[in-house]
Structure formats: C-alpha cells, structure tokens
Amino acid sequence: MKEIDEILLEVKEKLKASLPLEELIQLRNAYLLKKGKLQLLMGKMKDLSIEERKSFGKEINDAKAALEALFEEKIKEKEAQKLNEMLENEKVDITLPGVSHFSGYQNPFFKVQREIEEIFIGMGYEVANGPEVDKDHYVFELLNIPKNHPARDMQDTLYIDEETLLRSHTSAVQAHVMQNSNGKPIKIICPGKTYRRDDDDMTHSHQFAQVEGLVIDKNINLGNLKSTLELFAQKMFSKDAKVRFRSSFFPFTEPSVEVDVSCFNCHGRGCPICKGSGWIEILGAGMVNPNVLRMNGYDPDVYSGFAFGIGIERVAMLRYGINDIRKFYQNDIRFLSDFNKKVED
C-alpha cells in the first residue's frame, strides 16, 4: 500500500540524522503508539473487503515490525553511546598508585626465628620456652657448670643476685624441660633472648638470641645430630648445604663440636663471606654430657641425646648480609623495609 511505504520511507529519512535518545523515543511513539501514524492507517480497514483486510493487516504488521526494528537499532546505538560517554567521564589515570593495604615489615630477627621454628616443627619438634631471668641452678649447675668452675669464665654473666641471673644461653631451657619430662624422650627447640656482659659493637651485643635444640631418647648418636643439622642447613641456607664438625668444648656436651656449614654463597669455592675457606661457622653442638643427663633424671647408660645452639642474629646476618648486629635493635624502618618479601625462595 502506498501510504505504508511512504511512512517507512519517511521514518528512514528521519533516522538518517543522528537524533538524541529522547527525540528518538518521541519519534517512535509518534509512529508506533495507539495514535501513531501507522495505527491511524488501521482506520482504513473498515472500508476494505475481507480479502483485502487480510493482506492489508499483514502489510501493516510487517511495517510495524520493520519500524520497531529500525527504532530498536537506533535506540540501542544511542544508549551504548551514552554509556560510553559516561564511562569515559569516569576515566582514571591508571598509573596513579593504589590505595595501600600495607602488610607490615617484620624485623629479620623474627623472620629467621620463625623460619627456624618452622623447620624444626616440620621435623616433629616442640617449641619450648623458659624465663629470661633464671636461676643459677638451671643456667649453670644442672648443665655441669658448678659454681666457680672455670667454664663460667667462658661467658660473662649479668647477675641479679648470687642465685639469680639473666640467662647467658638458652641451654638453660634444656634443664627446665628435662626436669619436667620425668625421664621421657624429648625433642624440643627453645628460641629466646639471652644476655651477656658484653660491650655492644658490630659483632657483639649484650642482648642476642639463640635457638636451643635438644633430643633425648635411647640410641641417639652424633650421626643423628649431623643429619639433623644438615637438613636444617639445607632448608635455611641452600639445598646443597653440607655440615662439618670440628672438635670443641662445652661443659654440657661430650663430645662437643663446632659446626660449620658449606658456604651458601660460593658453594665451597671460597669467597669473602666464608673468608676463603668455603665453610662458615654457625653453631655449637654435641652429645649431652652424661653428668647433665644424670643430674636431670636420665640414666646415661640407657639414654643419650644431642643438643645444639643456633644464634638467631648470626644466621640472619649471614643470610641477609647484615654487617652490624645493632641494626636489629635499632629498628630503623629503612632497615626493616629490606625484608618485605614474605616467602623467600
């Protein structure tokens, strides 16, 4: 029908221009709503024969669908355009810094302490604790260092009174644990602060910390100590780490050894860290002295054990190349911020 074609043409013509969304909707209404132009054509229906009505009705409906599709397309286009404009207005500079949800730095002292703990917990060790102000009895006497024994000269101790002192080694916790274990097997580590009458300088500190280890059972031997420490060194320093024993003396162990770890930096070739030797001294250890076992309720003919003492700062200094022990206690945030990697390779 001519009128219908005209309307379609008319609309197509109007939509060629880029109309704003509101006008588009108005226009659509003008053609498609009840009083719209297309609808008005329906009025002509009554003048037509039944046959004609059928085809006329179809024609009108087709035109309606065509118009609706035309408007739909244009409106969608416009809506998308509008959304885009809105989004563009919200544009940010993606190079601006993020809002901080900062995770704090941990003093490397605690990082290393925790790591040592985790390594030994993984091997089934319990973490024990003891007082920092302790009795002479536990710090010395039960560890085979009687009063006025020359071995006391090995460490200068800070005393509170004749019987009370700031522990000079975490070995004191050994005595506490043994006394409380009623002769049962023991597998513990005890990390903690220790104190000595020392001037503070780059390598000495009146306060420092150790992790003591103690294993007691039937059939514990020096080879067990070596394997245990080697496993520790491999976790702590490098996968291919080896340990070496050298004869030494501590009153509470017999035999006593100084333990060297193969240099994790040069892997034994020799470098400034290991002073060219390929080995780094990291801890003291040994088999628990029979006197210590006896004094603390273990029959040395039945039980044996090993003990070791690791210096926390020493390990941290080696691992991170820290050159001054005082840095741990200064807590300069610039220093702390060097240790922000939470899980290290």
Partner: protein
C-alpha cells in the same frame, strides 16, 4: 698459650712437618691454633760491618757510613747514636720489607743511602723485650756474626714459628709445652723424649711445710743455699721471649720456664726473710697484704694464704708478697711446688681482680703427678744457672689422692654414641697414641688415663678422644629414629603468632628492642606492671642496668629514633617478656605515628587514640571476648594525653593502657608535629581470660531491617550509655552502628551530633509495619526523653 716450635723440636722430631700442618691437625683435634706467629717478618737482611762513619755535613745527628756486606760496600746514612767504625750491624737492603715499611734507595739531605742499619725494634721485636740502648740505637752484633750472612733472623734467633693456642677450659694440660708436645706426638704418631733429671739434692733442710686447709693438699719445698741472682743466659731469655714473657733474673726466669714446660706453677721465697723455717697454708686470715705488684690487697676468710710463723708470705696460687720477695740480694731461697684448689683460687683471683699465669693454671687444674719432676727440673737449672751449691732434699707434704683414673668402656658404647663403626683395634690404637693404656677386649676394656688429662672422666670423654683423633668424617650421618610426635608450638605461642600475623597484615612493623634500661627509663611508663624491677648487680653500663617492666618506653624510643631519621608515618609493635620477681608477663606494645591512609582515595588521617582502641577491640574479637566484658577509664598522669587516653579492664582487671602521648612528652622528644599513639596490652592476662570457642548459631532466614537516627546530644553523655539505653527499646535490636560524629558549626558548644544505624532481626517471619513503628517510636522516645537529645530531621 704461645707454643714455640723450637721448644717442641727439643722433645719431638717434627722436622718433616710445617707449622701449618701441625696447626691444622691440632685445630681439627680440638686444640685450636688461632694463628701462627713469627717473631720477625723482615726480609732482605744481611750482616754488615761499618768500615767508616762520618758525620753528615748537613745534620747534627746523621752519619754517613760505608758498610761492608761481603759482596759489596754500601753507602748508608744512619741516625743511630751508637753507629761507629768497626761495628757489626744488621743491614736492611734496598727492597727489604720491615714491619714499618719497605726500604727504598733514597737521598737524605744530599747524601745517597742504599739501605738501613736496623735495631731489633725495627725488625718487629716488642719493646718490652729490649733494653733502653737496644730501643734507642741499632743492634750491636757480637763478633761471631759473619759479614755477608743473609740468614740474619736465624742468627738472631728470630726465625721461630710460634703457635698461638686457644686453650679451652677442658684442655688445661695444653698450658704446658711438654703436654702440647705430647699432643703433637700423639696426633702424628711420633715419639716424645722428655728430658730426664738426676736428683742433685745434697742436704736435709731444717724446714717444715704443711697445710691447714682442705683446699691445699700438697706443699712440696726445697731450700737452695748460696745462690747467685744474676742475668739469665741468652737461651733462656730467648725461650721466654717466644712465650711472651720478659726476662727478670735467673731465679724468676727459672720458675717461669719450669712452669711453661710442665704446667706446674711454682713460687720462690727469700729464706732469710721468712719469719720461721716453715711454710704453712691457711685459709682463715683477715688482713691486708702488699703483693709483688706493689699493691695492697684485702685477704678474707677462705682465701688461701701461705704463711710463715702465722704471717702471710704469699697469696697462694695467685701472687707472692713483697715482704719475702726474692731480689738481687737474696742468697738463700725456698722453692714452692704445691697444689691449690682451682675453685678456691678462682674465687680469690676474681674478687681481688688479680690473675697471673699461676692462678689461671691452678683454676683450670694441674697435673699432680708432675710435681716431683718439676722439682728436679728446677733443682738442675738452679745448679746450672744460679750456681746453687747446697740443694736440699724435698720437704714433702702431700695428702693428695694419687690413684690412677681407670675407665671401663666397650666398643659398642663408643660407636652407639658417635654413630660410627670403629673396631676395637682402632679405638685401642687411638687411645694408646694419646698415652692412654688400654687393657681388655671389645666387650669390656679398661682405660688408664694419663695423669695430665684431668678432663677425661668417663666413657663419653673416651668417645670424644676417638672421634677427635680419627676425624669427624668417620661419623655415619642418619636422622634420629624416634616415636612420631606432632611437635609444634604451645597454646601461648600459637596465640602470640596469631596476634603477630594480625598486626603485620594490618600494616604494623614488628620490632625488637633491648630488655635492659637505665634507671630513669625503667621508672617511666609503668602502668600494667608496677612490681619491683630486677636490677643487675654487675652492669657493664648504667644504660643496661634494669630489667624492663613495660615495652612502652622502648617503643617510644624507637618512634623517636625513626622520626629523628625522617622516617615518618608508621605503625610499630613489639611482643616481649616483662619479668619481675612476682610475675613473668608477656606484653604487646603498639606505637603509631603520623598519618594513615584514609577511607577515601588519597586522604590521610592522623592516627589517634581510636586507632589503638580499634586494634585492641579487634584483638579481643580474635579471642571471642565480648566488648561488654571490657571497661575503660581515664589515665591519671603526665605521660599520656589526659583526655585522650584510657585504662582498659578485662573482667574488671586492668590489662591494657592506650592513648595519645602527652604534648609535653612529645615536645621533650622533639616530635610535636607528628601524631604519636601508644598502647600496651598485658597478653598474659588476655590469655588467662575465659573465652568461648567458635560455634555455629542459627541465623534468621528473614532480612534485617535498619533505621537511621541522627540527634544532637550533650558531650557529657557517653556513647556506651547511648547504646545501652537504645538497646533497651527492643530485644529484636541486633546491632547499633555509629556512622557519623559531628561537632562544630551549627552545633552548640558542649554538644555533639551523632548518627547511628539500628538493625533489628526476627527469627520468625518478616516485620510488619506496626512492629517497626512500635520499635521506632520507642527508640525516638528513649533518645529524646531518656537521653535528653534532640532528634534531627
């Protein structure tokens, strides 16, 4: 302990070994050689003779010398006052390296000089071993020096290698050259030949020795008459010099030399100065004495004193007394070879601050089977070097136990302890090489311990001998086989770790600080723990004298340090012990300074007391502790801001303090510009509190409804009261949340505008409008009537 290899060579053939080889083997076996010393490192020396010596025309003290060095004649300018024609001298040639530097060809005030004439000082010999003339001038060589000889150090006896041993407390035997020689011989499987001495005693002295103290069980003496006190011969001086000991005279030197060789300290008395012909050890004196160093010392009961006629003659084992000193005029002397209990000597030595080569040997323990040998050694040296003609027999007081130490052992014990597979033969060979005697078989053998190895007491010690001798690479490494246990941390440690993680993940940095404080610091910031502090009896410095009772002071110092270094805007925390006689507590300190990131992008907000309070509340929530169990009140004092700080009580017990630092404190610390908030929590108290474990509760399937209220209220009404009152409106109120606080413009002074959301929830069914209206009206009534506030909008 310095060990001259020349001395070792006298008793063990070590000609096939280098000093380095010996040092390495000793160190591996537990006798650590710290370093190898040489007496002189000088190179390029030759012996010369001064042919002519003329004064330098341009100088009042320089000389121009022509020096014959055998192959050449050199022009050398020399400033020594004693240089003269004919003198045999040490010449350092051009290119020689002396401790002071390299010798170069030079022109001194117009005169060419091709080398230097040297003193021993310039070769590196310590001043203390040289005479005044030797220090001020060049060395004057004896006639036997051969011109042209290039082995100058050898000629001067300065070519010895000296091992510097670090003797650990267990190896006191290594404080004797003979014993070190035994160790070296044992480790290298060599023979040792110690000198033997004939007894040259020729009379019986009218002299008595004895002891009235438990702590001295042996006192042997000999009397030497008509001796001559004089200079020691050169060989003795050199031997002592190598051990770092200065020569005094022949008598003192003999004593020192004998001690160095045998490890047995000895002492000499001037017989004619003794009140009586006796030396008796006593330990019940209280008096003052003047020791050989000229100083006065106070003797207390218990100190061992050697007496004659009940008058002190020696601080036994520590130092002799001036009144009976042997000097140049002495003619007749008494030699003491005794045993003094090490523990007792240590006590006296520590108290008097007086230690000597003798005391350190007694303290570590001596070989009681070596005393007669020492006596003979000295008797022979006395005859040889002091012309002693009358030498008495030994006056012998000895009630020591001379029983030999025998240890019963078996092969399995040693292998089980070491994780090794030594055979009986290996063990036997090892022990015998180290001078032990072994009898028996692998299942049981008896080991006789050599008398000088006082450290060897039991089977474990024997195991140590075996492993240190054969090397630790004999150990077969294997992990311990034990019953499986879970391991892990204690409950307390686990809680601490949880708090640590919470704080770290909220951007606070974990620090560690010193436990020991000075007096002033120790007495500040004590809120949670007011018990007496532990005080160090022997502090090294006043700065580290008191065991801290709080962590706040250290925290404040750390904040100060960082601000002073321009590190700004940070949160810090520390967890540590606060130990007092009454209680050991674990505390947590938090320090916040500057600004934090705000809610909106790039807006910074100053830290204030509510940041600390928020942390405290969150920690409480971590332990399921309801806010209602915590009460707060204001802190009195002048360290915290009096109106922006609080005590916190958990179940009515003080457990935390928090607040902004008082402006006057901030001024004192010079950081008044930056905000500073401190908090300390007694974690031990928190951990003691009853807490319920997590449990799932029924949650309503119906949505909550919420209503907002804004009102202006007097600042005298506490927020906690407001909440308490509003809650009374209905049991269906499940939450009250503050979302705005405002005071200032449009609000009367003394009043504040508060906006909050009230949330209600029902277990059964949704709320009807009526129900909501009832609750809403009730709340409005409470706000306006009970709380006296004016509802806005």
């Amino acid at each position: 302990m310095l060990v001259s290899l020349n001395e070792i060579k006298k008793v063990v053939d070590i000609s096939d070994l280098t000093a380095e080889q010996i040092a390495e083997r000793l160190t591996d076996a537990g006798v650590e050689v710290e370093d190898i010393k040489v007496e002189s490192t000088a190179t390029n020396l030759v012996i010369g003779q001064v042919l002519s010596c003329e004064n330098h025309p341009e100088s009042d003290h320089l000389h121009i010398c022509k020096v014959d060095i055998g192959t050449d004649v050199l022009d050398i300018v020399c400033g020594a006052p004693n240089v003269r024609k004919g003198l045999k001298v040490i010449v350092a040639l051009v290119g020689a390296k002396l401790p002071g530097g390299e010798i170069k060809k030079s022109v001194i005030r117009g005169q060419e000089s091709n080398g230097m004439l040297c003193s021993l000082l310039e070769l590196g010999v310590s001043e203390s071993f040289l005479t005044e003339a030797q220090i001020n001038g060049i060395e004057e060589l004896k006639d036997d020096a051969k011109v042209g000889d290039k082995e100058v150090l050898k000629y001067l006896n300065l070519d010895d290698k000296i091992l510097n041993l670090k003797v650990l407390a267990n190896r006191s035997d290594c404080m004797s050259l003979h014993n070190v020689a035994r160790e070296i011989a044992g480790l290298f499987k060599k023979e040792i030949k110690l000198p033997e001495f004939k007894d040259n005693a020729n009379f019986k002295a009218d002299f008595v020795t004895g002891s009235e103290s438990e702590n001295s069980k042996c006192f042997k003496a000999r009397v030497f008459k008509n001796i001559k006190v004089k200079e020691s011969p050169e060989w003795l001086k050199i031997a002592l010099r190598r051990e770092g000991i200065r020569s005094i005279n022949n008598i003192v030197d003999i004593g020192n030399y004998a001690m160095l060789l045998t490890g047995q300290p000895v002492h000499m008395y001037d017989l004619d100065k003794l009140e009586k012909n006796e030396l008796i050890v006593k330990d019940d004196f209280e008096c003052e004495v003047v020791a050989l160093d000229g100083k006065t010392y106070k003797v207390e009961k218990g100190d061992l004193v050697v007496t004659s006629n009940n008058k002190p003659a020696c601080l036994a084992g520590v130092m002799g007394l001036e009144c009976v000193e042997v000097n140049e005029e002495s003619k007749n002397i008494v030699l003491e070879v005794a045993s003094f209990n090490g523990t007792r000597v240590r006590k006296t030595s520590l108290r008097l601050g007086l230690s000597s080569d003798s005391s350190s040997r007694f303290i570590k323990g001596i070989n009681i089977e070596n005393q007669d040998y020492t006596m003979l050694l000295i008797s022979n040296l006395m005859a040889e070097l002091a012309d002693a003609k009358e030498i008495s027999e030994t006056i012998n007081y000895d009630v020591q136990n001379h029983e030999q130490k025998v240890i019963s052992c078996n092969v399995d014990f040693i292998n089980n302890l070491l994780g090794t597979d030594f055979s009986f033969e290996e063990i036997k060979d090892t022990l015998e090489a180290l001078s032990f005697k072994v009898n028996g078989d692998k299942d049981e053998f008896k080991v006789t311990v050599p008398s000088y190895r006082i450290d060897v007491e039991g089977k474990a010690d024997l195991a140590e001998e075996v492993i240190r001798y054969n090397g630790f690479d004999r150990i077969i490494p294997s992990l311990p086989v034990m019953e499986t246990t879970t391991g892990g941390r204690s409950a307390t440690d686990t809680k601490i770790k949880a708090i640590e993680d919470y704080l770290l993940n909220n951007g606070l940095n974990e620090i560690i600080s010193y436990t020991l404080l000075n007096e002033k610091d120790s007495n500040s910031w004590n809120y949670l723990n007011k018990f007496e502090p532990y005080v160090i009896l022997n502090p090294l410095t006043e700065d580290h004298k008191y065991v801290r009772r709080n962590l706040l002071k250290s925290m404040l110092n750390t904040v100060e340090y960082n601000l002073a270094h321009l590190n700004r805007n940070f949160g810090l925390f520390e967890i540590g012990n606060c130990e007092t006689k009454e209680k050991n507590e674990i505390h947590l300190a938090v320090g916040l300074s500057g600004v934090k990131e705000g809610q909106e992008l790039y807006k910074s907000i100053k830290y204030d007391v509510f940041d600390a309070k928020g942390i405290l509340e969150n920690i409480l929530h971590m332990f399921n502790i309801a806010d209602s169990r915590v009460k707060y009140d204001r802190i009195e004092g002048n360290e915290f801001h009096p109106y922006r700080s609080m005590n916190a009580y958990l179940d009515n017990k003080l457990f935390a303090v928090l607040g902004e630092v008082h402006p006057s404190v901030k001024e004192e610390f010079n950081f008044n510009k930056d905000a500073c908030v401190l908090m300390e929590i007694n974690l031990s108290r928190l951990f003691e509190a009853k807490t319920r474990n997590n449990k799932s509760n029924e949650i309503s399937i119906y949505p909550r409804i919420s209503r907002d209220y804004a009102f202006v209220i007097s600042k005298d009404v506490n927020y906690s009261n407001i909440v308490k009152e509003i809650k009374k409106a209905s049991s269906l109120i499940k939450g009250i949340k503050l979302f705005d606080l405002y005071e200032g413009e449009h609000i009367m002074k003394g009043f504040i505008s508060i906006a909050l959301t009230v949330e209600c929830e029902k277990q059964e069914g949704t709320f009807t409008n009526d129900e909501i209206t009832v609750i809403d009206n009730k709340i409005r009534e409470i706000i306006s009537t009970k709380l006296g506030a004016k509802i806005r909008g």
